[in-house]
Symmetry: C2
Subunit: 118 residues, 2 copies
Amino acid sequence: MVTELPVVDVTDACCASVVGEAMDADTAATLASKFKAIGDPTRLRLLSLVAAHEGAEACVCDLTEPVALSQPTVSHHLKVLVEAGLLTRSKRGTWSYYALVPGALDDLADLLRTPLTV
Amino acid sequence: MVTELPVVDVTDACCASVVGEAMDADTAATLASKFKAIGDPTRLRLLSLVAAHEGAEACVCDLTEPVALSQPTVSHHLKVLVEAGLLTRSKRGTWSYYALVPGALDDLADLLRTPLTV
DNA sequence: CCCATTCATCGACGGATGTCAATGTATAGG
DNA sequence: CCTATACATTGACATCCGTCGATGAATGGG
């Protein structure tokens, strides 16, 4: 039931990789929580929509209609992505603007890379 | 309800990317199912264990003890990974040997990459 | 043959998850 | 002020998911 983000940051495990040394349980849990965040079709589309949106940021009202889901549901998914460290939220006026965390997806991608030189 | 692997293959969407053009629902569903497969700590460890194992393959009996789970549970997770296209299963004698699908993780990694040149 | 080993499948259980309607909160405009 | 807009939170619900014990299927050794 631990949905909280574990204390261990992915970047803490400096040389961690899925395909390198056998992964310990803590690293696996931290990593899995991030992959789980993008393991949902709606959240994947939200990431994509935010990235493709003008200014590389979008508010909830920009996203509700494209994904055809209720506003609370979209807010929920965005919260999950923020807690996973993939999106930032900045409130300006009545609007909440969401944007990609620079490098966050790239860091995840690096962990999936198979080391060519063993 | 639809847990079956969709007909659309990730590679079919030749230039698909999370951060490129806005993703359509089908592509998102296909992609998400793969990320969901690695969005579990146990499956992440299994991938890692298989990759790190001698000969880059491992049987169920090699994996049960490291992850400290029952044999049916391990078999279940391995099945999920096979259906996600991340592992192969080859039965030799009484044993089932699991190995990484070459390039599968790299393909996933590529989809997460932020295009530096917009 | 009989039995041990390896693994997959089934059925069941509890907890997690995605979704919505209803409600609460804050900001902006008249 | 009063109201409208944008968003978060809550509570509820159905479904999904991870886990296990029990069982079944296949292989190989005495």
